[in-house]
């Protein structure tokens, strides 16, 4: 929302400098994004939050400034100048509306106008707020909407067939050409106005091409409506079509502002285009749209804010916002009356915010919560230290960590060997490159390896992140995977690394199945979420042995199909005095195992060891057909 200082000043006296004003407005919730100089004027650019339709108008911003400046907005002369008197020989018009889709319909006919360029002051003002001047009537409706915050639309009266306006909902699929000349297929439920033949207006969003003001227009019908915010929003989203009017309506327009808006508009039309009022004032409405009352308890105000604001100050702040605060018999209770343009104020907490923001957030002292700290573990608890420990192990072993996107393209999925049909997918992807939820971290790691190849010889990368499993949404699972890639380490180096990781986490599994050698790289990936279930970090100290170990190397000849791990396990099973067995060397069919014997109660004799050795050789012979190499 752009607002020229000169325009604001017509409604409020401002003592603050533009910079100070911008800072104060930002603090109270009207985010000032930019202040720029245009000609002799200062233009503010504001970010308007979705709860404040009233701030999409000059008068609304002026009211906020008045509250800051502790003053009231100036009353405008046009309010009293225009009287809607019953004209002689009114022009005919029939309006059929439905309050369920159009709670209020205010309008009037003006005849014998002259379409021409707007005067310089009006054109300049529109240009300052980023609007292109068109002709006096269109410019006036835009101007009045920006000034007062109620959207309005002027129809060429002569183009309304059958002098009839019917407010109805579209069936869906009807064609509609807007004033900009663009044709839309209307979504079902969009609120439109039909004359006796055709759709002439897309309510609350855009006027129709077929009823628009042209240079030949002599008679106009001005409509100031209240629309249903959700209906406007649905239609506007379905069409991908937004306008100043639709953003006001979808936030909730000032329901009692239509008469003032019409007065302002008629005043300007008569002044700048001539003509005369040629109909009754139409004001078809569901109800009177009056103000509503809210209560504010002073003790609750203090309890929620954590500060005590004197009653006098609370009353003065509420009054500066035109909330007509009244003390009640209950000393704790203040009653306010909310004007219809502040439909964001619905509950007590809303009033607490009003008081707090104008009191000034930055005047609040800062405290820390004083209550109990619960020792009960929360739902969805996660031990981030554990993840960090895992990541540190990888970093210490030369792997750098990457974070890649969860969303990948169809090609990525296919290249990784998956059928896209069975991969979770986004309905409305930002682009085809980010359409699927990754089923593996390898996609990102392989790309990362390729990306780094031109600059690095040795590349070791890992990622700990979510992958998304399940062939469709019914079976969707999010699991953390741990994956890595290396072009400089061997299968057994990676295996050793994972063994060390498992060892540190108290897991006894063999990690071989998680590792794959591909071309010149080794890749590993494991389901970290599942691994977490096996973690055992409980550690108990084992005393250092008092008696020395004895070690010997044993070479055996066995078929090359014999798995080293099977042999090791078999050797270990032969005696509980064997504390460690490892493969020392392998050459063709010969393997040399290093065996460590130890008795924690005494020194071992070579006699005892020789007995165990015979047992080992016997077993290895019967199990694997292995013989000792002499």
């Amino acid at each position: 929302m752009l607002a020229p200082l000169s325009w604001l000043k017509e409604y409020v006296d401002i003592t603050l400098s533009p910079k100070e004003l911008g800072e104060r407005l930002t603090e109270v919730g009207l985010g000032t994004e930019r202040i720029s100089k245009v000609d002799e004027d200062t233009i503010f650019e504001f970010e308007i939050t979705p709860n404040r339709p009233d701030l999409l108008s000059i008068i609304g911003i002026a009211r906020e400034i008045a509250a800051i400046e502790k003053t009231k907005i100036k009353s405008a002369s046009w309010r009293t100048q225009i009287k809607f008197l019953k004209p002689q020989k009114p022009l005919p018009l029939t309006i059929n509306t439905d309050f369920k889709i159009n709670p209020r319909f205010t309008g009037i006919i003006i005849d014998a106008i002259t379409i021409k360029e707007s005067p310089a002051w009006l054109k300049k003002r529109l240009e300052k707020v980023g609007l292109r001047p068109i002709n006096n009537i269109v410019d006036i409706t835009n101007y009045v909407m920006l000034e007062l915050g109620n959207p309005l639309h002027a129809f060429d009266y002569k183009k309304i067939k059958g002098n009839t306006l019917n407010v109805v909902q579209a069936n869906g699929g009807e064609e509609f050409k807007s004033v900009d000349g663009i044709t839309y297929d209307l979504p079902k439920g969009a609120v439109v106005i039909k004359d006796s033949e055709k759709i002439i207006d897309l309510c609350g969003i855009k006027g129709g091409f077929n009823s628009q003001i042209s240079n030949e227009t002599k008679t106009i019908f001005i409509r100031v409506p209240i629309e249903i915010s959700t209906l406007i929003r649905k239609a506007s989203q379905a069409l991908g079509l937004r306008s100043e009017a639709s953003s006001i309506f979808e936030r909730g327009v000032n329901s009692s502002g239509t008469i003032d808006t019409l007065k302002r508009c008629v005043g300007l039309v008569l002044e700048l285009a001539g003509g005369e009022i040629k109909s009754d004032l139409y004001d078809l409405k569901k109800s009177d749209f009056s103000t509503w009352k809210l209560k504010l308890r002073l003790d609750r105000l203090s309890k929620i804010l954590g500060i005590n604001i004197a009653e006098k100050n609370v009353l003065s702040i509420l009054d500066s916002l035109n909330l007509s605060p009244k003390k009640t018999v209950d000393k704790n209770l203040i009653e306010v009356t909310v004007p219809t343009y502040r439909n964001d104020l619905k509950i007590e907490e809303d009033l607490i915010e009003e008081v707090a923001r104008l009191y000034g957030y930055n005047k609040f002292p800062k405290t820390l919560p004083s209550g109990q700290i619960s020792t009960k573990q929360i739902p969805y608890f996660k031990d981030y230290k554990l993840e960090e420990k895992v990541k540190n192990i990888f970093a210490s072993l030369g792997f750098s960590e990457i974070y890649t996107y969860s969303l990948v393209g169809e090609n990525d999925v296919v290249d990784a060997g998956f059928d896209p049909e069975n991969i979770l997918r986004i309905d409305n992807p930002v682009s085809r490159d980010f359409e699927y939820l990754r089923p593996t971290l390898k996609i990102g790691l392989k790309k990362a390896l390729a990306q780094n190849k031109p600059n690095f010889e040795k590349i070791n990368l890992f990622e700990l992140g979510k992958v998304y499993l399940g062939k469709n949404l019914d079976h969707a699972i999010e699991d953390y995977f741990l994956s890595g890639i290396s072009n400089s380490k061997t299968f057994f180096e990676i295996k050793g690394l994972l063994e060390e990781l498992f060892n540190q986490l108290g897991i006894t599994d063999d990690p071989s199945a998680f590792i794959q050698s591909e071309d010149d790289t080794v890749v590993f990936e494991l389901n970290f979420s599942k691994l977490l279930g096996k973690i055992n970090l409980g550690k108990a100290f084992v005393p250092i042995p008092k008696y020395p170990p004895m070690a010997e190397d044993l070479s055996i000849i066995a078929s090359s199909n014999t798995k080293a791990m099977d042999v090791i396990n078999e050797i270990k099973n032969q005696s509980n005095l064997i504390v460690d067995v490892s493969l020392l060397d392998k050459f063709e069919n010969t393997r040399t195992f290093h065996i460590v014997y130890q008795d924690k109660n005494k020194n071992l004799t070579s006699d005892e060891i020789s007995k165990i050795r015979s047992k080992i050789l016997k077993t290895l012979k019967s199990k694997f057909g292995a013989t000792q190499k002499e």
């Binding site: 915010e353 929360i378 608890f381 960590e401 969303l407 986004i426 309905d427 980010f434």
Partner: protein
Amino acid sequence: MEEELIGVKNTALSLILDCDNLKELEELRLQFLGRSGKLTLLLKELPKLPLEKRGEIGKLANEVKKTIEETLENQKSKIKNQNFDAEKETIDKTIPGIKPEIGHLHPMTQVLSEVVDIFKSLGFQAADGPEIETDYYNFEALNIPKDHPARDTQQTLYIDTRNSRIAAGETLLRTQTSNMQGRIMEKIKPPFRVIVPGKVFRYEQVDASHGFEFQQFEGFAVDENIKMTDLFGVIEYFFKKFFGEKTKVRFVCHNFPFVEPGAEAYISCNACKGKGCAFCKNSGWVEILGAGMIHPNVLRNVNIDPNKYHGFAFGVGLSRLATLRYQMDDLRLLTNPDMRILEQF
């Protein structure tokens, strides 16, 4: 004779041990053990002794000779070692050491770890939750019904429901970690203090400061006496711990449907120390967090009585925190696996 031998030994040893260069040491050797050395001359006297004493003195003489020889040898290697140390001094120590093969933790991980630690010190427990989320937890439980204009500020990616029984448009990728407010609060009773880091997704075109994927963290606390000054205090504490105690924090009013009153926090720009630079668009301040007192409707949705309990909630862009901390001018640097970036951390 006996005294003379011991006298020679003592003189020799003290001279040898005092000697600090090889040339002088050689001179000492000649002085004692050389052809006309002191000990050699004494030994020549041996045959002149009476027969019964000859054996005893001879033995002593040999011991003295051996001791002097050993001491000479020891001193020789000691001097050589000293010379070697002196030689080492001439190595160019400015040559960089051999680089260990060590990997690097991602800046996001480092920042996340700090965040979790700081909040832990304030009694907050950390949680983690789903990214594939229902419309209910992402929006409706947070007082954002369907067709609420606030949904425009968080354009949403929806999951394809093909081959599934789930209705289209109801499952999405969470747009905020606030989804965990409902999920956690509906399962526990106050008091609690929680932070939830995680990835969020938006339908957004990518540029230097926007992405369709980024990291956030949510924090919330509910108790009987939680108040807005606590919210401001916790936020200030966090930023002063994270960016340094000189960091200034400023609050402004803002609207988020799931809080009332609502606020945003700005911190003094850590890149330019508040002087104004590209990071803070020359304002000296960086907008970094949305917050507020939890809306009574949100508490009611999880069966917590808003008349008895109050709470605060805040959400921070973790990715933004990381880029600010390391003065990275583009959010995309965090998802770029270029090792020239990674190895800086």
